[in-house]
């Protein structure tokens, strides 16, 4: 059955990618930790931290949750949450940093 073959091929393809995605998230976590450990602070550091969180969040939503091809509505909901939360944190930080 074509549909099953397609699904198997898709699953195997996703499986091959998942290891590198895991490694990327480990590396980004170490970057965030290093920023904290070496005492970085201020707007640029916060921007890097939040962008790192957005990249990791995107990988989780797209590749761990496998929402890559779902309806536009749910992609907007999930990515909208990710961007909305991080943007709000950044704007509040900017205001407090004045």
């Amino acid at each position: 059955m074509i549909r099953d073959e397609k699904r198997v091929k898709k699953t195997i393809q996703n499986h091959i990618n998942i290891h590198s995605i895991w490694l990327a998230m480990v590396a980004l976590t170490i970057l965030s930790y290093a920023l904290g450990k070496f005492g970085f602070s201020g707007i640029v550091s916060v921007l890097v931290l939040l962008l790192t969180a957005v990249v990791k969040g995107t990988l989780i939503i797209r590749d761990f949750m496998e929402l890559r091809d779902v309806s536009l509505l749910w992609r907007v909901i999930m990515y909208g949450w990710l961007w909305g939360a991080t943007l709000a944190i950044f704007i509040i930080y900017l205001v407090s940093n004045k």
């Binding site: 198997v8 091809d69 779902v70 939360a85 509040i92 930080y93 205001v95």
Partner: protein, 193 residues
């Protein structure tokens, strides 16, 4: 023979639709908590910066790695069941549960360290937010592990296969949400200053 060109139908959400409403509700609650933390911090920058230094960054970072790795094994479990490999699915879920338990253990040690230093929810505003936010997430990790454990039990009884794996995807989606929340919580509470 070429396949007819058809409009790409959007893929169905993995697992049950109901879990996605539950996931989104939880995400909203956490987003409100994050914003409340950020606003309160904006009003007490010196206090938050001072007491943030007392947090164990290593514990926070290792816990992030544990959750990410646990989620990675949950993805492997979903892939395994889609390929009808039940045993591999169970093994990957058990490894994921191991990493989840590691998170709970490390977090408990962190709390023990704070409580034995006499710190409580009423010590100051920073600790109130740090303890309530991370404890709220802690409870979600526990619930997520209960869900994964229930899936392991059902998988052992032969409930899941390549043609019947929505339950595995449902549990996996919830677990990834717990990871997704921590991905923002960790820099917000432990690092941003």
């Amino acid at each position: 023979m070429n396949e007819p060109i058809t409009l790409q139908e959007p893929k169905l959400l993995p697992g049950d639709l109901a879990i996605w409403f539950f996931i989104f509700m939880e995400l909203l609650v956490f987003a409100i908590a994050f914003i409340a933390y950020a606003v309160t911090r904006a009003q007490n920058v010196a206090l938050f910066n001072e007491f943030q230094l007392t947090l164990n960054k290593e514990s926070g970072a290792v816990n992030t790695l544990l959750l990410i790795t646990s989620s990675y094994f949950v993805v492997r479990a979903v892939h395994a069941i889609k390929l009808d490999r039940v045993k591999a699915c169970i093994t990957n879920l058990n490894i994921a549960l191991g990493f989840g338990a590691g998170f709970l253990l490390l977090k408990s040690l962190e709390y023990y360290d704070k409580f034995s230093a006499g710190i409580t929810l009423s010590t100051n505003t920073f600790y109130m937010f740090y303890l309530s936010l991370t404890m709220f997430h802690f409870l979600h990790v526990i619930l997520g592990m209960i869900i994964l454990f229930a899936i392991v039990i059902k998988a052992k009884r032969g409930h899941y296969s390549a043609n019947n794996h929505y339950g595995v995807e449902t549990g996996a989606s919830y677990w990834h949400m717990v990871d997704l929340v921590w991905i923002i919580l960790f820099p917000l509470v432990y690092i941003i200053r």
